[in-house]
Symmetry: C2
Subunit: 272 residues, 2 copies
Amino acid sequence: MCKPFMVGDQQVGWVWPGVEKHIQRFPDVFMVEDKQVSLCPSLQMYEERTARVQEVMVKLREEGEFIALKGWRDEMYEVFHQRSSPPVFRMERTATALLGVKQYGVHVNGYVEHPQKGPLMWIGRRAKNKSTYPGKLDQVTAGGFTAGLTAQEVLVKECAEEANIPQDIALTAQPAGAISYFYEDERGLFPEIQFVFDLKLPLDFQPVNTDGEVSEFYLWDMDKVKEQIAQPDFKPNCAMVVLDFLIRHGHIHPDQEPRYLQFLENLHKTLF
Amino acid sequence: MCKPFMVGDQQVGWVWPGVEKHIQRFPDVFMVEDKQVSLCPSLQMYEERTARVQEVMVKLREEGEFIALKGWRDEMYEVFHQRSSPPVFRMERTATALLGVKQYGVHVNGYVEHPQKGPLMWIGRRAKNKSTYPGKLDQVTAGGFTAGLTAQEVLVKECAEEANIPQDIALTAQPAGAISYFYEDERGLFPEIQFVFDLKLPLDFQPVNTDGEVSEFYLWDMDKVKEQIAQPDFKPNCAMVVLDFLIRHGHIHPDQEPRYLQFLENLHKTLF
């Protein structure tokens, strides 16, 4: 069973048993109790918490036990209770999986309204050399938050890098909600929230990848999109973002889809 | 603390303590345990369960203890684990609040796209003599499921009765998801799921109430709508349906609304 990971009285993550037994060796940083794991209450300041957690993670990395820590990126990630509250400390991005820290991102549904064919959606295929989900189908563009950027700034940046979408077009993207879900893999636990935007692209626009992260783009009708998101070829969270689009835009009908409410429940998990 | 109400291994409701102490007087119908309340496993058949639960409810009604039972409607409501599974028994609609049975409905956002003023939404005011939420602001039309009808059939029926929307227009409504939430009042506990439809109405269309349930209709711009849903004058679940519309259509921006994710979480509660 995972235990809530607390900073003061606020939950900021989930600790799974395989991690718990390692971090309890550092009782001046992590306090492991019956029902929760806390950052030691003696660590009151943002910079002190950051430094002490980092020491533990560097040590665990040296010991080589955790796959997540082999992907060390030297990129710091802010840890929040909620995005609207101040961060409580920051930590190496790849180590967040060990503490089940909530991750935020921005996903963009790029679509066109074709006068004859109806709505079509741009789908990207991830480059074969990407470290996560190589070769899988993906949104036209998506990205994680970089400290200090707004959702709109992340969107404009990723639109430019991943699909060469100019800023004036990117800024027409409409926010349309968010999805939230848990997943786990060999690296750890990922409670994630993705802010979702719908971007209507001009009919003659052709996305072009500029950062080497996408190998190809396809323009598919909704039947093809529906068929593909049910296949393992699709990156799972991107398939969820597309499913949310299909539901919001009336391409799935509650009277025809027995799993309609189940889909919605899975798109909106309560993380903590 | 509420306990799950089970039929076999499927949860179909929630029983609150004030109800528990009454129904445990009927041990051949309800089995009250530490962590749950079950329908007696000896009751295996739909008709037998229906008859035995009805006997208990009639008895409780005679005793006059529960406000909910004073509103007895002689209208039977199907009890499901999920809407996609077969019903497990049926019971008097107003008694469902005692067993916290999930209720389903269909809510319609009626809007127009005005060439100068932008999007406008039709808002109804409930008649002063309605038994629930008299005089409160409401969707253009909404209604609960009647046994055997699809969401689309409920929608067409309510569009005609509450707003005189002809069937050919009602059928253009787009399904756009569902919201789920709990509320409680003096009658009991209500876990509810509302299927949400967006209906773009012609510019010159004027809704007219035909069943006496709506006293007036207003056509408001999105700023006015936003302002009003935060007021106690709005029926709470209708305000949630409108909030969902505002989020889905980009009228609320995650960078400008600190409660954005909190709103989404509250629109999508896991009921059971």
